[in-house]
Amino acid sequence: MQTSLPSSSSSTDKPGMKHECGHRADCLKMIQLIVDGEATEQQLARLKDNLETCRPCIEMYHLEREVKELLTKRMEKKCCPDQLIATIKSKILTFS
């Protein structure tokens, strides 16, 4: 396994890099916690290990970050129309 040739996306792999991950589903859950800032110290430490030794984890991590960034930064944020703000403000004045 450690002699496998680096593919185009893993040209900088160090020797010993894993190219198979036996627990992708669990790793993915952990990666999402980390990307969301919800992971424990222990989970962070574990991911740090994986990110140096496990190619599938590295790729999942990049994908999750990329998807999150797409949602965070590239989606249009709709702003509330001024007219609606004015309507709300005038309506609450008639309340109390």
Partner: protein
């Protein structure tokens, strides 16, 4: 701003109070002036986020307008169940989410809505659990633009869409989301996980239909 305190007779006992009646906390008694102050200083600053949330839920500008207006009027009416110094944004989002479920979801234009329970069951099934990673490359995602992700997001069942909006677009913590949605934090986690897998599938399908995912080195 009048000083006739007549609000008790018709407004405090509405069944759609943002707080379930059973857990109605010691109600603060704010003066009218304090109410307007809280409304303007703590509620109004979130109006753009609220509108964006409403628009992403309803996918319609008129519905978003109505939903935001209803929510803010409700928030004002029930302002005495808002505790100053607590998380106003989460409190408002919770009211909006409840209004959406009660008033809008029924008449929403979502085509052939997938029942959330169905989807959850599907994703709980064994083959989904064994290995559910979507074959999508980070480089492909970085080529997508906002409109494309909006389309993918809109195609998700509303419960999945909601957790993604709250977490990724509005930046709520899992704990805040649990309160807004009235679900345990573990459910937040698993629903979000499934929602993202679904979203990635949509993005992958989209990318492959557009030929974005061809192998290319740069």
């Amino acid at each position: 701003m009048s000083d006739t305190p007549t609000r008790d007779d018709d407004q405090t006992q509405q069944p759609d109070s943002p707080q379930p009646a059973a857990e109605a906390p010691a109600r603060a008694s704010y003066t009218d002036q304090q109410k307007y102050q809280i409304f303007n200083k703590e509620f109004m600053p979130h109006i753009d986020s609220m509108y964006n949330f409403a628009f992403r839920l309803t996918m319609d500008e008129d519905d978003a307008n109505d939903l935001v207006q209803d929510t803010y009027l409700k928030a004002f009416r029930f302002i005495s169940s808002f505790e100053q110094g607590t998380n106003a944004k989460a409190w408002l989002f919770r009211i909006l989410k409840n209004s959406f479920i009660n008033d809008y979801r029924k008449k929403s234009k979502e085509p052939a809505k997938v029942d959330y329970q169905d989807v959850e069951t599907t994703y709980n099934s064994e083959d989904a659990e064994t290995e559910h990673t979507v074959d999508l490359r980070a480089e492909t995602v970085s080529d997508l633009i906002g409109d494309e992700v909006a389309t993918a997001l809109n195609s998700l069942p509303v419960d999945f869409r909601t957790v993604i909006i709250l977490c990724d677009i509005e930046g709520f913590t899992y704990e805040e989301m649990a309160k807004i949605l009235d679900i345990p934090i573990g459910t937040v986690r698993s629903r979000l996980h499934r929602a993202r897998n679904l979203l990635k599938e949509k993005l992958r399908d989209y990318a492959s239909s557009m030929g974005y995912d061809e192998e290319s080195d740069e």
